[in-house]
């Protein structure tokens, strides 16, 4: 337990001084502010809560950026320490390998939570104030976005550890992390879309597709946020599948949580076999 806290605290310290992490949370903030400004432009008379609209756009942003930041934090966690020789030092001291991984995980999730809270918190607050206050309920939406983004990030942090523990070079781990991101966030959805087009109203669209959608933690995250917000007001290309989904509401978040648990277990298993 002592080791877990020590490792987590040090990872937070390193993460908050990492200029890539600082840069990406600034990018998050910049994107968020742009969306806020576009969202609050006098577009029409629709007085749907402006903050809610912004939260909907930000959740789409999260699907791409949060996994990227998460992998940026985690790809180096094991391979980098093997490369630099510090893993030997940590494993020579009386901490278990499981504690090393859990400590890193807690530290990295904390860094990600700070980055997301910073970016979305400021953007949400600006949207709230720019629209002359409004219902405080809208701020709950911002909180929900931050919390679910952190869970999505935790999933990709854990998946990043699998990549990092499986190879011995930082460079290889980085390439693997980019491949994971590209597959989970871009290619997977393209493939699903292709499948949908091929079988407009067939077995795939009705039975397989909804499961495949929930199976991907990034899509599950998107579904959760779309269903939490009034999806109709925002208009989503995936909204149509809503009725046929195997899981709905908060239950869709089971997917990223389960992925996190599996990935942490698997990366601990791999780390236990590493011979530093």
């Amino acid at each position: 337990m002592h080791g877990v806290i020590t490792i987590a605290a040090t990872e937070i310290r390193i993460g908050l001084r990492n200029r890539w992490i600082i840069l990406s949370s600034l990018i998050l903030l910049a994107f968020a502010l742009i969306l806020v400004l576009l969202g609050s432009a006098p577009g029409g008379e629709v007085k749907t809560d402006a903050v809610t609209v912004v939260v909907a756009s930000l959740s789409t942003l999260s699907v791409y950026l949060v996994p990227l930041i998460a992998l940026l934090l985690s790809y180096d966690a094991i391979a980098g320490e093997i490369d630099r020789g510090t893993l030997q030092l940590v494993l020579a001291s009386p901490v278990s390998r499981g504690a090393v991984l859990v400590g890193k995980f807690l530290g990295h999730v904390a860094v990600l939570a700070i980055a997301v809270s910073f970016g979305y918190g400021i953007a949400g607050l600006v949207a709230f104030l720019a629209n002359g206050g409004g219902e405080a309920v809208a701020l709950i939406g911002v909180g929900r976005l931050i919390a679910s983004s952190t869970i999505l990030g935790a999933t990709f942090i854990a998946i990043g550890y699998i990549a990092s523990a499986s190879v011995r070079q930082t460079g290889t781990a980085a390439a693997l992390a980019i491949a994971i991101w590209l597959f989970a966030v871009v290619l997977y959805d393209l493939a699903l879309l292709g499948g949908l087009l091929a079988s407009q109203d067939g077995f795939f669209a009705r039975t397989v597709f909804p499961w495949l959608l929930v199976f991907n933690p990034a899509d599950a995250f998107r579904l959760y946020n779309m269903s939490a917000i009034d999806a109709l007001a925002v208009g989503s290309n995936l909204g149509g599948a809503g009725s046929a989904l195997p899981l709905s509401g908060l239950a869709t978040m089971v997917s990223p949580v389960a992925w996190t648990a599996i990935a942490l277990g698997l990366s601990t298993f791999i780390l236990k076999r590493v011979r530093p």
Binding site: I14, T86, A92, S93
Partner: protein, 309 residues
């Protein structure tokens, strides 16, 4: 004497590579042992076995009676790897504090070891501003914190200048006086400057020597080198008289066993004015090391020297 680390008939095979063969070695509390050998001799492999990172294919190792890699054993040992790069974003103090906490050491120990390795002034600067010598000292501070009973140092002085090296050995002597067992590796005997109690030499995964330096010098029984500088024009007759080899147009060099030294020296003094100077050199530490690590004296080969005198 109860040894802190005890390796018995340890062998380690990596697929086709026989990295260690039948190595037995022990280090007692307060003892400093230098593990010498060329690159690839198996020094790092022995350290990794002692740390429990890998398991020997034959033989056994115990650390204060515990299995290598067990929790109890890891409370006993401290390690400084051959190459380590600490997180650049952290300060020296943060690095040492991190390892102190992992080892469950008292927080006061951090300042004490920083003081010992003379890093107090730089302690609150980031590691990426440190020089090579400072990084090496930080590595040592990390190993010393928590008063380990066994210190494993893999080539700790390679790349250090002579002054830092000397300072380094003073630090090591200090910790071993407090009862810590020290096993350090190096790829040359001269780097040690004869500071350790015992020297163990490895060649291709085998332990070929293990004992105090004086004993190894005796064991090797290397010849003594005698160099005679002849007076002008007398080099040929001096050479004819005492034998050996001519190394240039004025000097003759010969090697003799320790027992023959006085006989040859008196012969040389009998040459009178033909000899200008005599230089007698005992085998150097490097020659003793080369004797063991290369299995025998290298042949002294020299071409014929043409003199136009």
């Amino acid at each position: 004497m109860t040894e802190i680390v005890k390796a018995r008939n340890v062998s380690m095979k990596f697929k086709a590579v026989e990295a260690l063969t039948d190595v037995s070695l022990g280090v007692a509390p307060g003892e400093q042992v230098a593990l010498l050998g060329h690159n690839g001799a198996g020094k790092t492999t022995l350290f990794r076995l002692i740390l429990g990172f890998i398991k020997p294919t034959a033989g056994s190792i115990s650390i204060a009676g515990f299995m290598p890699g067990s929790d109890a054993a890891r409370h006993v040992v401290s390690y400084l790897p051959e190459q380590v790069a600490f997180p650049k974003m952290l300060t020296g103090r943060e690095v040492v504090r991190f390892y102190a906490r992992l080892k469950g050491a008292a927080p006061e120990g951090v300042q004490a070891v920083l003081d010992k390795v003379e890093l107090v002034e730089a302690a609150d600067r980031r590691v990426d501003t440190y020089s090579k010598g400072m990084r090496q000292r930080l590595g040592l501070a990390q190993a010393l914190v928590g008063n380990p009973r066994l210190l494993l140092l893999d080539e700790p002085t390679s790349g250090l200048d002579p002054l830092s090296r000397q300072h380094f050995y003073e630090l090591i002597a200090d910790v071993s006086r407090r009862g810590c067992a020290v096993l350090l590796s190096s790829h040359g005997l001269s780097e040690l400057e004869a500071k350790t109690d015992r020297v163990a030499i490895m060649r291709k995964g085998r332990l070929v020597a293990d004992g105090p330096l004086a004993e190894l010098q005796h064991q090797a029984d290397l010849p003594i080198r005698i160099r005679v500088r002849a007076a002008a024009g007398a080099v040929a007759s001096v050479h004819a008289e005492i034998g050996g080899g001519r190394i240039n147009c004025a000097s003759v060099e010969l090697y003799c066993a320790k027992g023959d030294k006085m006989r040859i020296l008196s012969k040389i003094s009998g040459l009178g004015a033909q000899v200008e100077d005599v230089d007698v050199a005992s085998p150097t530490l490097d020659e003793v090391y080369r004797y063991f690590s290369n299995n025998g004296i290298e042949q002294i080969q020299r071409g014929e020297i043409q003199c136009t005198a």
